[in-house]
């Protein structure tokens, strides 16, 4: 119950000054930012991926980034669209045994296999960084200080830049020890 515990710590360490709604939003932002930095405690596998008729796979909304994939007993690295286009202009039409995953980024939440297999893959598993409600409980204190830093920095009746600065320092210090 990491989220609930973090928000409880925020209430305690702010003497109940922190706004509950804002704290929840800051917590969600923080988890997402950690995912974007590939804070890889948030990794997960998604087995049984199935493409549409055009060979395009769609990722769940919770996914922040792709790490790679296993296909038919092989590991496939992730490449972005610009890289694959610089290497092979006709990459979308290529058929064969997949060698890589082309990830179109967070905006489209989709990817293709390169080259495209003749048969849809039945053994494709992708490895992703995902957004989560709860992180591991030993990160709670570090996350609580991340939330407190944002909470006491914003315009409000309890704004306190000195405390916000210290909270931010502790947040970064704890993450540096735990990463």
């Amino acid at each position: 119950m990491s989220q609930a515990n973090v928000l409880g710590l925020v209430a305690l360490l702010s003497d109940a000054q922190a706004d509950a709604t804002a704290s929840l939003r800051y917590y969600q932002d923080l988890v997402y930012e950690l995912g974007e930095q590939r804070f890889l405690w948030m990794s997960n596998s998604l087995p049984g991926q199935v493409p549409n008729a055009d060979g395009l796979y769609t990722l769940p909304n919770a996914v922040i980034d792709m790490i790679g994939a296993t296909y038919d007993g092989h590991w496939l690295d992730v490449v972005d669209q610009r890289t694959i286009e610089s290497l092979d202009m006709g990459w979308r039409a290529r058929k064969g045994d997949p060698q890589a995953v082309v990830y179109f980024g967070e905006s489209s939440m989709s990817y293709r296999l390169y080259p495209q297999p003749a048969q849809p893959a039945v053994t494709l598993t992708v490895y992703v960084v995902e957004n989560r409600v709860d992180l591991q409980v030993w990160l709670d204190l570090a996350l609580a200080y991340g939330v407190l830093a944002k909470e006491f920095k914003r315009e409000s009746t309890h704004r306190d830049e000195q405390y916000a600065g210290l909270c931010d320092e502790l947040h970064r210090l704890f993450l540096s020890f735990l990463a």
Partner: protein, 202 residues
Amino acid sequence: MNAGTLRSILQARVRDPVPLANTEAQYRQILSECQRLVNAAGRLVLEATPFELTPRQPLYQVQTNFPRCVRIEFIRDVDNRDLDRVDFPSICNYSRTWPSDLGDTPRSYTFIGRDTLLVYPAPRDAGITITVYYTKLLTELVDDTINTDLRDDDLLPVVNLAEIIFLAKLRKFVDVPALVKQFTDDLRLIDDSRERGIMPMP
């Protein structure tokens, strides 16, 4: 040392022995968080769990299989030999077919992220057991009678950190920078000691 003694030391340090500024439960809660953080950062309390591998399966979810694990530190095979810890790109460079490679006994391990353990190569047959050594998630200090798993020598950074937190909460910032430096130095010392082999490893 039990949570009640730790709490008394902390309350004396923040000059709230009665207590008035915070409740006993709040002091205990922060001490509980601090001991977990210090242990996670310093890798102080380890636990070993025998784990039977599934034939033809190289990947295992860490949190599912080792729910009290903070971080896997090392793995030994049935003959008590360390498996080599390698980074994930090295496994991929060594063999693109690692997901389907099989062997009689695993030789190395790595992680995809932190949550997914990759044991390489996957065993061909059943009955292969490894022992996984990991930093343990410490028990929560829910009442005063609970003993912390940390040695008394390792409790100083826990109390220092809790003192920082309560002084900051009271906006008594004067002593905080020195205490933060002390806390940081304590943790670095623990880390350096381990690297030099001073601290006993199981």
